[in-house]
Amino acid sequence: MTNNKFTATNSSYEIKRIVWRSGVLIAFAFIALFSIGISLVIGAVNISLPDIIQAIILKGTSIKGQIIWNIRLPRTFVGALVGLNLALSGAILQAVMKNPLADPHIIGISSGAGLAGIIVLVLFPTLDYMLTPVAFIGALGAAALIYFLAWKGGIRPIRIILAGVAVSAFLGSGISALLVLYSDRVHGALMWMVGGLTARSWSHVYIIFPYTICGSILAFWGAKHLNVLSLGDEVARGLGLRVEATRIMMTAIAALLAASSVSVVGLLGFVGLIVPHAARLLLGSDYRFLLPASALLGISVVTLSDTLTRILFSPIELPVGIIMAFIGAPFFLYLLRRES
């Protein structure tokens, strides 16, 4: 064995795969930018791209500028950030729960965040700055409850889903009860229950943005660990991964991403289910590529869906959550059938 044998370690196949994956990522980045552009241009009033750029530079002094700066720009940004957060959250949960059907909404993590958030909003309205941290605690609590209910000498995918559905229904009933009892205190409760982007302002952007940054950095840092985890718990342990610690840490990151989304748009479902799967179809299971791809695709899916809600039944706007559920529920059934 001579050392020059070791020079060509990256085979042409491996290089091709890296080129393909990088290409898909770049394409996703362009699609995300395009979707954001579409979302800014199209609405109750159509505004041309030059007008938009002018509005952004002048920070909205004309009428159209006002629309862009105060309404459409924050709404689009909130949509993009929420899409990114939920897609990452879903991708992480699918890895740590070993379950292709995991999604913060389906398994009740969003409901945990939602219930905690609603309690703050209706019972302690003066503490509204605590909304996201409290929602995060609610999300973590729901995740812990799901693990507790589903754990029986290991994690079985189907038990996670069943426990999640139960937890989701249980917490959801609490949310509904509070919304009915305190209907005078919660504006747009229905919108919030299905997840909507109507009237999202810059303050909502500021609420979610720090969590998106922190959550994304932590998620990308964990990508390699998620890859090792995908070999199975025993193999991962054999490779020196602290399996339980990784699982808790990554679930917490997913809960943080989901909770910050719930804080600004309510219970928006299915983004975290559809997006990682679509990304996986094109990129495979390597989380170092899958996570950024999911993030970019999440931006596109939510901003485009939201644009659709504005034009479909114009002048009436549907909550974006209705569009997501309309696409997502059949997709969920398709995955369920494919698994069994």
Binding site: F6, S11, Y13, W221, H225, E234, G238, L239, S285
Partner: protein, 272 residues
């Protein structure tokens, strides 16, 4: 020299006592096979030795130090484990899989370096997989898949390799291929081998030492000639067997009939 030892360990799964006050030591550079009937605690013992299960009493020492005191990464640099029926994600190539063997050596902010590449390449050569390096693991035959997993453990550069029934699900030719590979790694690279085996002929042919387990206790321990005896086969497995030495010196055994009185003594499932 003892490299790995269990000192009076008791292991429970839930309330069920699986390993009962068992002591065993593994000599460096040797091959130790653990045999016994279903439910005797073989796999559980291996899991305890690999720190996948924590004994409720007793200690396990690696290089004379309590195995619980090792960090996860440091342990993975010394001990590699091949589990039964491991499953790779569908789009993983053999090379990708083997590269995971370097995970315990990598800091999280670093990707693989040139040393890692060389070690992965060597592991692929040693297991005869270099031509299949770019194939998807799941597209390989059972024997090739098993070799790929062994290559991954080799990339860990372990002192000890623990294997749980490495030949299950393989046909006879592939069984021998895997056993030969394991013996080769022991001889050429000096890796200490501890494995759970079902096939007593494999155990006899490839082991320096055989440990026989019965209901969570060590029944006997010694070299193959001492251990594979009609008495052991009757006591442990409840079968009458012919045992003879082949012309090339191999010990052969063939069970010929069940001794019915013995079969009632043992129930319970493997890997419970």
């Amino acid at each position: 020299m003892t490299i790995l030892s269990a000192d009076a360990i008791t292991v429970k799964l839930g309330d069920k006592l699986i390993i009962n006050n068992l002591s065993i030591s593994v000599a460096a550079g040797k091959i130790l096979s653990i045999v016994g009937p279903n439910g005797s605690g073989k796999s559980t013992l291996l899991k305890a030795l690999s720190r996948n299960l924590k004994p409720s009493t007793g200690t396990i020492n690696l290089f004379g130090v309590d195995i619980q005191s090792y960090s996860a990464q440091k342990l993975a640099c010394q001990v590699a484990v091949l589990h039964q029926a491991a499953q790779a994600p569908g789009d993983l190539t053999v090379r990708n899989l083997v590269e995971y063997g370097r995970f315990p050596y990598q800091k999280w902010w670093k990707t693989k370096n040139k040393d890692d590449d060389e070690i992965v390449e060597t592991a692929l050569i040693d297991t005869g997989l270099i031509k299949l390096a770019d194939r998807l693991v799941n597209s390989l035959s059972g024997g090739e898949q098993q070799r790929a997993w062994i290559a991954m453990t080799l990339a860990q550069r372990p002192q000890i390799l623990l294997l749980d029934e490495p030949t299950t699900y393989l046909d006879v030719a592939h069984q021998l291929e895997i056993m030969d590979l394991i013996a080769d790694l022991n001889k050429k690279q000096g890796i200490t081998i501890v494995m759970v085996l079902h096939d007593l002929n494999h155990a006899a042919q490839y082991s320096d030492t055989i440990a026989v387990l019965q209901q969570g206790k060590l029944y006997s321990l010694g070299n193959p000639q001492q251990i594979i005896t009609p008495v052991m086969l009757r006591d442990i497995f409840g079968v009458a067997a012919d045992i003879w030495l082949a012309d090339d010196g191999r010990l052969l055994c063939l069970a010929k009939s069940r001794i019915t009185a013995m079969t009632t003594t043992k129930t319970g499932g493997e890997n419970a």
